[in-house]
Symmetry: C2
Subunit: 194 residues, 2 copies
DNA sequence: TTTTGTTGATTGATCCGTCAATAAAAAATA
DNA sequence: TATTTTTTATTGACGGATCAATCAACAAAA
């Protein structure tokens, strides 16, 4: 069976399996065997390609972050007006690709794990900073810097909060409602300004 | 050594030890031995009083929720005006007793665990509903019901989001800043109304 | 023959939950 | 009051299960 050039395929399969396993369990408490099984390989192979379990989890988080980054970049690319840029950033976070039960569960679980893992913590800080600066890229065209800063902070917190409440299957029932809540906040905040 | 009437003391000590252990580890991945050790007893005794680990964790969450409930009740008691009631509810969530690293870490960890445990999920839904209705107890005196509903939803999400960002030690540096953000949202939202 | 892919079996560690044993206090009995 | 018995408090030791990580071995491609 061994065909050459399997490595990238296996890595991808294992990362996808990790996401779906985390999504189903709702936490990082998934075994290497469980993940490997979902990917259709033995647990020994998972270790072969990723070393320790930590590194597979880290690679998985990196993958999720990378997807979010490319999606955001694309969305910002086709938004020129400041106000549009803010909405674009918000929309990406609640897009079909991001606002999925699996991905939401993974985010939440990784937030907790970040308490233990310095590497994961660093990764999540990068995300937080990037989200902030993406929001600012629009907001600074509308508000004075200090106020834009606070609105960006609140918007980011709002997005995180909506993710949590979605994970609990309480509160916001769908993406559209979540977006409406954030947009409503932004709208009142910007109108009050002028 | 055995003195009679130890049960309530041991229960309390074990729950406190659980909170501090979770706070330090940053997750529910704490062993019964670790918890028992912190409480100054053997792990066998922890099992004696609480049965399985799940039940100790559940009792701990119940304890945290109960504290929040009494604090909120007290705060609402001395607030008569609708607007004051809203602020009182917000303030409690960021009070010294609640907005502590240990408690915040516990909340976050329990949110994740709720994905697995139906009992925990039920408990957190009770909290979510209660927070919503407490906010509504003030908001309905200011806004029409449907709009009050949405503001309450957004406020709750904002609070949760600020908790997360605090757990990551990123974003909001302290309680005062967090309160200011929420109050700013409420203020603009209520001013826009009129 | 070297590299790449793959796994079954195993090891070692961790940890939950149980149980028998011990000891002191309280209650019951003589 | 003196004793036995029961209840409450407590632990060390252990069984059993789970799992991460390793390794030797095998197979196919280069």
């Amino acid at each position: 069976m061994p065909k050459v050039g399997m490595e990238p395929l296996r890595r991808k399969a294992l990362i996808d399996a990790t996401i779906s396993a985390i999504g189903e369990r709702g936490s990082l408490d998934v075994t290497m065997s469980e993940i490997a099984g979902r990917a259709g390989v033995s647990s020994a192979l998972a270790h072969h390609y990723f070393g320790a379990k930590d590194e597979l989890l880290l690679a998985t988080m990196r993958h999720i972050l990378a997807e979010l980054t490319t999606d955001t970049r694309r969305a910002l690319h086709s938004a020129s007006l400041p106000r549009e840029r803010v909405s674009a950033v918000v929309a990406v976070n609640f897009s079909d690709a991001q606002f999925q039960p699996e991905i939401i569960a993974a985010w939440l679980a990784f937030y907790v794990e970040a308490q233990k893992s310095a590497a994961l913590r660093r990764l999540l800080k990068v995300y937080a900073r990037r989200l902030h600066s993406n929001l600012m890229s629009g907001l600074t065209g509308i508000l004075p810097r200090s106020e834009a800063d606070r609105v960006a902070e609140a918007t980011a917190a709002l997005i995180d909060g909506l993710y949590i409440r979605r994970a609990l299957k309480d509160g916001v029932p769908n993406a559209a409602t979540a977006i409406a809540l954030v947009e409503d906040y932004l709208e009142t905040k910007l109108k009050a300004r002028q």
